[in-house]
């Protein structure tokens, strides 16, 4: 029965990974931006939350919309300046620029916040509160809330992309920028909006992570980035629900690995990622193969 509990834990952790990954699903899956700074952006979101709460002493729930708004603005500005310039010059340039951004962010955070671990206080009651599923399985409330939040964000994002005007425009610009320009679409603005949305979700994910766990300036690349990419790739590029599936697969794999040997926890995730990259790079849900 211990296994069932672990599977459930794994699924819930998958929700957190999916939350990290939805921004990436938009940036990487739709806009084809390989953003190596993605994990660090989540950490930036967490630090913004920490900073805002420290300065204004607002209840932690209020920090969420504040972080999302600030991150959205950051995303729009970064996309229209740095990232678009990089995209215009090719994939290699985008890789190098976002990698550089990652290092600058990490070391900048270290300069200003030191390397101490920090977290967002949610009150010890929420952190430890749990409910019993049956006599042997106990589930924490916070992981469940985060999982539900991930599902909601994915639903909203899915609707945004498939049914709204801007979602359509984002997909069009991602498909064929020139053809979109010919239809009167301001491609730079549209991609700016897409980045704003992606950054808002990654900020939310960062705040959630800061609540559930703690962050350091290097958590972005140590823990988050590769797992976010893993969720997107395993799930299949371009599919938001695939990202949830990918996150769940990752979370479950890690829990199972941890059960075999506690030090295998992270390794299991990477092995699964590598396996998918080598054997089925288009992921679990995609119909088109990776280009």
């Amino acid at each position: 029965m211990v296994w069932v509990s672990d599977i459930i834990q794994g699924i819930l952790v998958g929700g957190l990974y999916a939350l990290f990954a939805c921004g990436l699903s938009l940036l990487f899956g739709v806009m084809k931006v390989v953003n190596l700074a993605h994990g660090d952006l989540a950490v930036v979101g967490a630090y913004i939350g920490i900073g805002v709460i420290a300065v204004t002493h607002m209840p932690f729930l209020w920090s969420i919309p504040v972080v999302c708004l600030l991150m959205a603005v950051l995303g729009y500005v970064l996309q229209r300046s740095l990232i678009q310039s990089a995209l215009n010059r090719g994939e290699l340039t985008t890789l190098i620029v976002t990698f550089g951004l990652s290092i600058v962010i990490e070391n900048g955070l270290q300069q200003f916040f030191t390397a101490n671990t920090r977290g967002i206080g949610v009150g010890s009651s929420l952190l430890t509160a749990s409910f019993k599923l049956n006599s042997q399985i106990q589930i924490g409330w916070l992981p469940v809330i985060i999982f539900v939040a991930a599902v909601i964000v994915l639903l909203v994002l899915q609707y945004f992309l498939s049914a709204s005007k801007y979602g359509r425009l984002i997909r069009a610009v991602a498909d064929d920028r020139e053809a979109a320009l010919l239809s009167g679409v301001n491609a730079r603005h549209v991609f700016g909006v897409a980045a704003a949305v992606a950054f808002a979700t990654v900020g939310l994910a960062g705040v959630a992570y800061g609540m559930a766990s703690t962050v350091t300036p290097f958590t972005g690349t140590q823990t988050i980035l590769l797992f976010a990419f893993a969720a997107v790739v395993i799930g299949g590029l371009g599919s938001l629900w695939g990202t949830l599936l990918g996150g769940i697969v990752l979370g479950v794999a890690q829990e199972v690995g941890a059960q075999i040997n506690i030090s295998y926890e992270q390794l299991a995730g990477y092995v699964i990622f590598l396996a998918v990259l080598v054997l089925r790079p288009q992921g679990l849900t995609a119909r088109r193969s990776q280009s």
Partner: protein, 249 residues
């Protein structure tokens, strides 16, 4: 077939589109050298010429995707040379690009909706376009990759039309399509013209161009070699301008 235009082919006093001494470079290669033209409202203005003559480059420059090295482009007398391509669409120039260039991850209807995102006011909306190309009504939810070449071309035209342009640029409509299909597509030209849209098209098939155009303009290696109403030229003269022959056979 008679020419599609109902207007005289003599340029009116204020041309809708004027291209003045435009030179365009591709890197170091001079693709267009000092080309000028004037398109009057209601015309069907056809650019003809061999591969590499510069026709598509000129179209793309008019649409705003290339910047001319020198020269001017005027729409209704206003200088639009430096206007970004997305602003030209709202100013009244839309283009059906070479190769259709539909959005593959969008459905037929969504492609049209994108075209309509920043549309001007006018007679063309999505229902009107679907009347023009009736096959669309049943296929609106299909991904465009599943359409045939001719159907894709019609969607591309619809997407450009739905923005209610004043000048519609058609780049190599017939590329990769069977002549029968091409003819059927060109058959809608009269309806488009009736709604007040002027057409500037690029066509490699000279016979097809002569059938539909009210004015021919031939390019060779970036230079103008012939221009005027098609009736003024014998097929031999057009051929000579097309291939740039000095008269030898």
């Amino acid at each position: 077939m008679t020419t599609a235009s109902s207007e005289p082919s003599v340029p009116a006093s204020t041309p809708l589109l004027e291209v003045r001494d435009v030179t365009v470079h591709h890197g170091q290669l001079k693709a267009i050298s000092d080309v000028s033209l004037q398109v009057s409202p209601g015309q069907v203005y056809a650019m003809i010429g061999a591969n590499g003559a510069g026709k598509s480059t000129l179209m793309r420059t008019i649409a705003g995707l290339h910047s001319p090295t020198s020269g001017q482009i005027l729409l209704d007398g206003n200088d639009v040379t430096r206007l970004r391509p997305e602003r030209r669409a709202t100013a009244g120039i839309t283009m059906v690009p070479e190769g259709r260039r539909l959005f593959p991850s969008l459905t037929l209807e969504e492609n049209l909706k994108v075209g309509a995102s920043y549309a001007r006011t006018g007679p063309w909306d999505i229902p009107a376009v679907m009347e023009l190309f009736p096959f669309m009504k049943d296929r609106r939810k299909q991904k465009t990759a599943q359409l045939s070449g001719g159907e894709q071309q019609q969607v591309a035209i619809g997407r450009a039309l739905v923005a209610n342009p004043r000048l519609l640029l058609l780049d190599e409509l017939s590329l990769g399509l069977a002549p029968v299909i091409v003819q059927r597509i060109y058959d809608v030209l009269p309806q488009i013209l009736e709604s007040g849209v002027t057409v500037l098209l690029v066509e490699q098939d000279v016979a097809q161009a002569r059938r539909v155009a009210s004015y021919l303009h031939c390019l060779l290696e970036g230079h103008t070699t012939l221009e005027g109403p098609p009736a003024e030229f014998t097929p031999e003269q057009v051929e000579a301008a097309y291939f740039g022959m000095g008269g030898t056979h």
